[in-house]
Symmetry: C2
Subunit: 115 residues, 2 copies
């Protein structure tokens, strides 16, 4: 890049870390970590998500017992208020990143609209 | 957001528009637009891509004639040097946006690594 975006990108990253959306994720994760029940539920939930992803990528099917276990773990995790708060905070933070992408993609789309 | 990222995001967007990657897309698109053959090939290619996407989303299968037509159009477009230059420039610009996402996702991943 002749023009370097890194100074502006680093400034954006610093501001991003100070947004309520970011500090809310930080805080809600700390709350999950401080609660053994929530922490174990979340770890179990994440482990199963990873296993499912790996199976999907390998093109393997889940056996009914695995599917039932995955659904139960997801359900239990989503019933935990601390995990729910954390997942909600995570979604709001994704919204900030989506907005960054929208702002940067707009001038690119405008170029292609001229074709 | 209590802390607002928009000032920094607007600065980043302004720097992004000045990168070689962005101005290369702008220039290669102009070169395609200035060449009737390249322009028509690209429009045909884009039209078929959209049709395929719509069919996929509707869960419809392509008939063999459509598939053959799509492959021929893609092949012709990719043999055109001006279209190729434009698609290459587009990929490099996507790399800049990917880098922005990596820089912003890093502090988020670091939070989750503590769990
Ligand atoms: Ca508890
Ligand atoms: Ca030509």
């Amino acid at each position: 890049m002749t023009v370097n975006i890194y100074d502006d990108l680093n400034n954006l990253e610093a501001a991003f870390r100070k947004t309520t959306e970011f500090t809310d994720v930080l805080q809600t994760v700390e709350e999950v970590k401080a609660d053994n029940e929530a922490l174990e539920l979340f770890k179990g939930f994440r482990k199963i998500q990873l296993t499912l992803q790996e199976k999907q990528m390998a093109g393997e099917e889940m056996v009914p017992e695995e599917l039932e276990h995955a659904q139960k773990t997801a359900q239990l995790a989503q019933q935990n208020p601390k995990i729910m708060k954390m997942l909600e905070a995570e979604m709001k933070l994704s919204g900030v990143i989506d907005e960054v992408n929208r702002v940067l993609m707009k001038p690119v789309q405008e170029i292609y609209e001229t074709i």
